[in-house]
């Protein structure tokens, strides 16, 4: 599944998510639900900074390998899930169902990762048959 389709599925499944963006390892936007390009780029930069700061805060408290986090404010929450160098970030309304949002974000990232593997497996099968 491509990243845009995965995000479309995510926002359809999870009514708690307002916006979501997938940021690649180099800081580029892989897919986003934010329409304006300048806003999505600035959002991705903010997410990259947030991930760096959260990683430092975690390390200073003895946390090894930050996998995910939630920053909860009165206006809403920001959720971030990391998978390798890729990151998915989502904003929600206040008081979301934390476990559910994390699950949906992880599932979204996983569905993107699995797509090339499945394609490569199918290719190998075809090559083997030929």
């Amino acid at each position: 599944m491509d990243a845009t389709q995965a995000l479309a599925d995510l926002t359809e499944i999870s009514s708690q998510i307002v916006h979501a963006t997938i940021v690649d390892g180099d800081g580029s936007v892989l897919a986003t639900t934010i329409a304006a390009e300048s806003v999505s780029r600035s959002f991705a930069n903010g997410v990259t900074k947030l991930v760096e700061e959260a990683g430092q805060a975690g390390s200073s408290r003895g946390l090894v390998g930050l996998a995910q986090f939630e920053a909860a404010t009165l206006e809403g929450s920001v959720f971030v899930v990391r998978r390798g160098a890729r990151v998915i970030a989502a904003t929600t309304r206040p008081d979301p169902t934390v476990g559910l949002v994390f699950y949906d974000l992880k599932h979204c990232l996983q569905s993107i990762d699995e797509a090339p593997k499945r394609a490569s497996r199918a290719r190998k099968k075809i090559d083997g048959e030929a």
Partner: protein, 69 residues
């Protein structure tokens, strides 16, 4: 006698107001936080007021505001 009743009522109302304000302030502080989860499943919660949480929450507020929430 009536004056004493009024004063008691006013003191009671002021006490209730102060109590509810303190409770609200405490609840708000508990709601604003950053929960960090590591790959091994361990978790650290940073409450609002700690230097790291203040910085992270400020960044989070910027992201939420940028999305027009």
């Amino acid at each position: 006698m009536a004056k004493r009743k009024v004063v008691t009522g006013l003191l009671f109302a002021a006490g209730s107001l102060a109590g509810s304000l303190l409770y609200r302030r405490r609840t708000v502080r508990q709601r604003e936080r950053v929960d960090l989860f590591a790959e091994d499943g361990s978790m650290v919660s940073l409450a609002d007021g700690s230097p790291e949480a203040t910085e992270l929450l400020s960044l989070a507020r910027t992201l939420i505001a940028a999305n027009g929430q």
